[in-house]
Amino acid sequence: MDSPSPFPPASQPSPPPRSSAPRLVLRGVTKRFPGCLANDSVDLVLQPGEIHALLGENGAGKSTLVKIIYGVLHADSGSLLWEGEEVTVADPAAARRLGIGMVFQHFSLFDTLTVTENISLGLDNPGPMKDLAERVRAVSERYGLALDPGRHVHSLSVGERQRVEIVRCLLQNPKLLIMDEPTSVLTPQEVEKLFETLRRLAAEGCTILYISHKLEEIRSLCDRATVLRGGRVVGACDPRRETARGLAEMMIGTELAAPVRPPQAAPGAARLQVRGLSTRSADPFATNLKDIGFEVRAGEILGIAGVAGNGQAELMAALSGEEPSADPDAVRIDGTPAGRLGPKQRRRLGLAFVPEERLGRGAVPEMSLADNALLSGYAREPLVSGGMVRHGRARAYADRIIGAFNVVARGHGAEARSLSGGNLQKFIIGREILQRPGLLVVGQPTWGVDAGAAAAIHKALIELARGGAAVLVISQDLDELFVLSDRIAVLFHGRLSDSRPAQETSVEEIGLLMGGMFGNGSDGGEAAGNGETARAV
């Protein structure tokens, strides 16, 4: 655990001299929700000018804790000391008056309003719009966060949206800036830019509370880390002196078993062929697909990387049959033209799919697991006969899934929404895999899923592929794609790059493609040298 990091610590200006009182102290903060103890007497000390990581799995209580600091939630017991004085943070406005700013994980932006209007909403005394637009321009230039104040937010990329949030915080000259999972939607190059900004802020004396479960990032950025598990502080350390594996084991509390990927046998016949797939949506917020072409062979996993909003949702809908295309040959399943078929017919051809949204698309939240098993299982399992539902068989099928995939639930009668994200995702993926599909399309398989469940899901996907199925994974998580994929392609602005073997590419190269630098694909490696990111395996 104490083996020295192979990474040189990030070049870090030494923090300014510390005043006597820490910036923020939490003492014994406890928050209980019905059925769960989200924070169990948490203690935390934040010093001026430090970048402090809050580490933990999903459900460890990180988000609850920062919402308490920012006044969105109120602690049941415990106290907050701001610069040595006990305070109660009644609401976010009170937090902002103290000098606390927060960049949310799911951006709190308004699509149809302009950048300036959005920023104005986050300030208590924004002043006239014209002056504010000037200030926005000044701050964004000073910190290298290019922004056009007059643009509508819906026309911005995800990275630009995050800049709006950050500039909104910076305009209040915060003394404490909370960043909740800020990099989950950024390309590696954008991450590096963000880190430069954060280091600069810290050097100016601002405290940064950085929440993430991406260990390499924390190791390169943060001075200190506090680890939460099950709502409790289970450790504190200097992340620059720990290995990623050590941090991960602190987070999950047990040893981490990385999925093993057996070498790929010679790829078989193409099971999914996509040719000249284009879409035209009337929805101005949608991304149109432009001449997408690829194939996935039996026994292989193709990963599609890309920042959210570059056509992932549209590609998923076009492949599942939710949005059939006009050309029957645009999508072929095992050689059969399927472009004009709906989801049910495609399922009969052997296609199974797991959409990105678990609740509402992958499963009906209010329905039992047995009924949810029926929803897609009826196409290939004998769960319906003569138009009548065979409830007994549906329940038995649900039980099989629960058993085979270690789903923690109160049995087949449990409502889908009562399951944790990881367990529901295991159930949904199990529902598809147990139908023995020839072809599986998965969107964001482990988004918001804890590390244990993620490892189980990765293992199941690899086994499915090695058993002769073709698997397509669409994900924004590059680490995940490198674990799973035999080949990786990148979606950008509705276009798909050529795929390249995962072993012959790097995070940097894929990162450049994610930023739209398609080129010929040969000069990617050179340019990657400039965008050093904090990832490596």
């Binding site: 976010p92 951006f107 709190s108 932006l109 308004f110 149809t112 309003l113 909403l121 924004p126 009337a282």
Partner: protein, 309 residues
Amino acid sequence: MTELALLGPILAAMMTAATPLLFAALGELVVEKSGVLNLGVEGMMLVGAVCGFAAAVTTGSSTVGFIGGAAAGAAVSAVFGVLVLFLLANQVATGLALTLFGIGLSALIGQGFVGIPLADLPELNVPGLTDLPVIGKALFGQDALVYLALFMVPAVHWFLFHTRAGLKLRAVGENQSAAHALGYKVIGIRFLAVLFGGAMSGMAGAYLSLSYTPMWAEGLTGGRGWIAVALVVFATWKPARVLVGAWLFGGVTIAQLHIQGLGIEVPSQLLSMLPYIATVVVLVVISRDVARIRLNAPASLGKVFHPDA
């Protein structure tokens, strides 16, 4: 020359026919911009109409009547607001119930007021201008309420798009959870918007019973509340387009009356259907333009808001 002589009164009548639609639709527009769908406009208009009429007859003052109508509309909308915002009832069902409730309540209150005549409101008379051919009466010979309704168009636009309060209201309607996370009182802002919408519906009703007819009869509003709701979509949530829509529907209403008056051989029932058919046709045409709807429609419209979720 008969055509031109006819055009003057038609234009003037169009302005008056458009006035109740303007009041009600502008009110509903503000409500929907805050993210609440209130389908009870027809009911609130009826209660506003009968209460305004009763107040005017009892006190002898049209001003008191008009204010009374607005207050009654706001009071009915407060019931709706409590149900959907604090008790989290379904907005569509509650709105429909509000209309049915308003129909019954207005009939009950209005029992003693059927058939009582009321003096016309004074009309503007600017020597020279009012006597202008064709447009004189339409533009310079109306009563105060017509001008008030017209004034509300820029007023609502200015409020929504140029004040901070309006920005907050739009933010709440666009993304309720983000607004909450930033510390805005989603429910409080929506409740005020609902009250404003109720008052405007009440004014629309009061205009009908004090000036347009002027008398009270059961079902006086004749479906104008529904047209107002449709007008908001027609206008893609923009006040200036509400004005255009209100004139269009007012014009169709008046035109069918005059066609009947001219004795053209069309069944009168068919002509009476015209404004409603026009509503359906226009809505279908507008809905085809998904882009415009997406860019202007409040994204949280009709969604129930739980502050703790």
